[in-house]
Symmetry: C2
Subunit: 353 residues, 2 copies
C-alpha cells in the first residue's frame, strides 16, 4: 500500500464515496489491499458499472453512490422542462437499480434523489437541490454511523473479541462503518477490542478490506479462513458477533453477505450474542423476507482468485452473494436510533417508521 | 490437465501413493488441478517433506505414505545387525511422526511397519517383510475403501445431493476414497448422485481435488464457497453430509478438516444426517478427545493463494488445519466393518477392537 502518514492520521474522515464538484470520487476497492487509489466518475453509466463490479460495495456506500450516479444524470441532462429532466433521470435510475438486487439502500438512495427532483419547480432548482441532497446524504452517512457506533459500543466490554463477516466498515459506507463503527466507538471509549475477521470468500472482503482498514486504524485483528468460524466459537474465542446488513425486512429477517447465516447459527449454539448493525436506510418496511431476491454472481468470482485458477475448468458453481438470517438468531439490532430487540417486527415498525 | 483417455478409463485403479520397486510414487497434489503429474521418492526424508507440504494429504494416504517412507529407511539401512536396523528405522520414524500431528493413520502406518520389522529374525528378513507389508497396506487400503463404500451406499437414495468437505476421495487414500468412496459405491449401484463441494479454504482441497476427481469420474458436482454451506442447507438442497476423518477418538469425537464442525452444526439444525466415513486405521482407541493436538499451519496458506497476496502484509492469522465434531452431531459413522451408531463409545470399542 502506498499510504502517506497524512492518510494514516485522517482515517476516520477518509471518504469511500464523495461528491466532488459534480464528479463522484471513490476508493477503488477492487485494488485493495495491494494498491490504494481513487477513481473519479462523470457519468451515471460509470457509477453503475462501478457498483456492479464492486469498485464500491457495502449497502450504505452503494446507496450513496447510486444517489450520486443519479445526481450526475440530472446534472448532465440537456432538458429544458421538468418532465424531460425526470425522463432522463428515470432512465439512469433504472440502470442504477439493475446493478445489484439485494441491498435496499441502493433503492432508498435513488428514491430519495428522485423525490428531491420531483419536488422542485424548475429544472435549475431540481439540479441544484439534487446536488445539495447527495452532499447531505454523504455527510449524514458518517453522522448516522457515529450515532449507531455509540449505540452499539456500550454492548462491548473492555478486552472483548468481536467476530464480524465481510466488510461492514468505513469502506462499506461513506466513512466510519456500521459493524466496525461499533468497534471504533468502543475503541474511542478507551476499550481494548480485538476483531476476528473471516476472509469472506468468494470476494474476500474480510481479508482484503476489513483487515486493511483495521490495520490502518491500529485496531488488533486476526484473519481466519471462513472454515474456522465454528472452531473459534467452540474454543470460546469470541465474545460477540457484529455484522452489517444489506436489507432487514419488516419481519426481522437479516439479508447480509453469504456466510452470515452460518455465523449466526454457530453463535447461537455457543451462546454468543449476534447483532446486525445497520442504519435506517437498510430497513425495508414494505417487504417481508419472502419478497427479497438474493443476487447470484458469476462463476469467475469463485474459480479465479486474483486471476489464478483454483478449480478445474468447466466445474459448475453456485455463487449466491447473500444469505438470510432469521430473527430467532438475532440478539438485538444496532441502529442510529438505538438497539432494536424482540419482538423485532413490532419494534422495527415502531422505531423505524 | 494433461490426461490421456487411458487415464480416464482407469480412474478407480489410479493410485495416489504406491510402492514401485523400492521407490515411493505419488500424484503431486499441490499441482492439481492445473497439472496432473507423479513424483518419485527414494528416501524417507523426501517422503516426510512430501507429507509436510501436502504433496500427499488425506489421513489414509499419509498413513500408507509414512509406512512406505519407513520402508525406504529399512531398505537403505547399511545395518548388519537387527538392533542397528531398528535404530536406523526409529530415527526415520521419528522424522515421519513429526510431519503432521492430527491424523492418527500416520502413527498407525509407522507402528505397523516397525512391528513387522521387530518380528523378523534377521536384517534380510526384516527388509523383505517390511517391503511386502507396505505393498499389502497399499492393496488393503483400496479394498477397505470399497467395503466402506458399500456399507455407506445403502444410506443414499437415488437423486440425493451429498454435501462433503475437503477431499476424502481417491486422492486422500491409495484409491477409491472414503466419503467419495461411498458416493462411488452408490453410483455403481446405479443411483444418480450429486455432490455439493465446498472449496475448503485455506488449502482448497474441495475446489482443487474433489472437483477434479469427480469431474474425471463424471459424477455431477457443484462447487460453492465455504460461506455458502449454511445457505444451501437452509434452502433444502442437501440430503446428507458425508465427510472423511483424520482421527476418531474412542469417545466418538471426530477430528477432520477445518470447516467440518460447522457443517455438522448446520446439518443438525436442518435435520440433515451427518456421517464421517473412515477406516479402522482412523480410529484411535487409546485416546479421548482431550488428548488430540490440532495442527496449526503457516500464515502463508491463508494470505497467499497460488502465490497471489489477498490480505495486507503483516496481518496476524490463525490457521488451524482441523476441528473437532462432538458425537452428538453425528448420525452414524461409516466404516469397512459396517455402520457405527449411538452409543458411539460403546460401539466403537465393540466393533473396532
Amino acid at each position: 500500500m502506498s499510504l502517506t502518514s497524512e492518510d494514516m492520521a485522517d482515517f476516520f474522515t477518509l471518504r469511500t464515496v464523495s461528491w466532488d464538484n459534480g464528479r463522484v470520487k471513490m476508493i477503488d476497492q477492487t485494488a485493495l489491499p495491494n494498491r490504494f487509489s481513487y477513481v473519479v466518475y462523470r457519468t451515471p453509466e460509470q457509477v453503475a458499472a462501478a457498483i456492479k463490479t464492486m469498485v464500491v460495495r457495502g449497502a450504505p456506500a452503494i446507496g450513496v453512490a447510486a444517489a450520486m450516479g443519479l445526481a450526475l444524470a440530472a446534472q448532465r441532462s440537456k432538458a429544458n422542462r421538468l418532465p424531460d429532466l425526470f425522463r432522463d433521470m428515470e432512465s439512469s435510475a433504472a440502470l442504477l437499480r439493475s446493478t445489484r438486487p439485494t441491498a435496499v439502500n441502493l433503492f432508498w438512495g435513488i428514491d430519495r434523489v428522485m423525490g428531491k427532483a420531483r419536488a422542485a419547480s424548475s429544472v435549475r432548482e431540481a439540479k441544484e437541490e439534487v446536488a445539495a441532497e447527495v452532499k447531505v446524504m454523504e455527510e449524514e452517512d458518517v453522522e448516522v454511523n457515529r450515532k449507531l457506533g455509540r449505540a452499539g459500543a456500550d454492548l462491548i466490554r473492555d478486552g472483548d473479541t468481536v467476530l464480524t463477516q465481510c466488510n461492514a466498515g468505513a469502506l462499506a459506507t461513506v466513512g466510519y462503518g456500521t459493524a466496525l463503527g461499533v468497534v471504533r466507538a468502543a475503541v474511542e471509549q478507551g476499550k481494548l477490542i480485538k476483531v476476528l475477521v473471516p476472509e469472506t470468500r468468494p470476494a474476500l472482503q474480510g481479508a482484503r478490506l476489513t483487515a486493511f482498514e483495521l490495520a490502518r486504524d491500529r485496531i488488533p485483528c486476526t484473519l481466519i479462513a471462513d472454515t474456522a468460524v465454528g472452531h473459534m466459537l467452540s474454543l470460546g474465542r469470541v465474545d460477540r458477533v457484529i455484522v452489517g446488513a444489506d436489507r432487514i425486512t419488516r419481519d426481522g429477517y437479516v439479508f447480509n453477505k453469504i456466510g452470515t447465516y452460518q455465523e449466526a447459527v454457530l453463535a447461537k449454539r455457543h451462546g454468543v450474542p449476534f447483532h446486525p448493525a445497520a442504519p435506517r436506510s437498510t430497513f425495508d418496511l414494505t417487504r417481508t423476507h419472502e419478497q427479497v431476491t438474493i443476487e447470484e454472481r458469476g462463476t469467475e468470482e469463485v474459480v479465479l482468485i486474483r486471476g489464478k485458477r483454483i478449480a478445474p475448468k468447466g466445474v459448475p458453481v453456485s455463487n449466491p452473494a447473500f444469505d438470510m438470517t432469521p430473527p430467532e438468531l438475532v440478539t438485538s439490532m444496532i441502529t442510529e436510533r438505538g438497539l432494536i430487540g424482540i419482538p423485532f417486527e413490532e419494534n422495527i415498525t415502531r422505531l423505524m417508521s
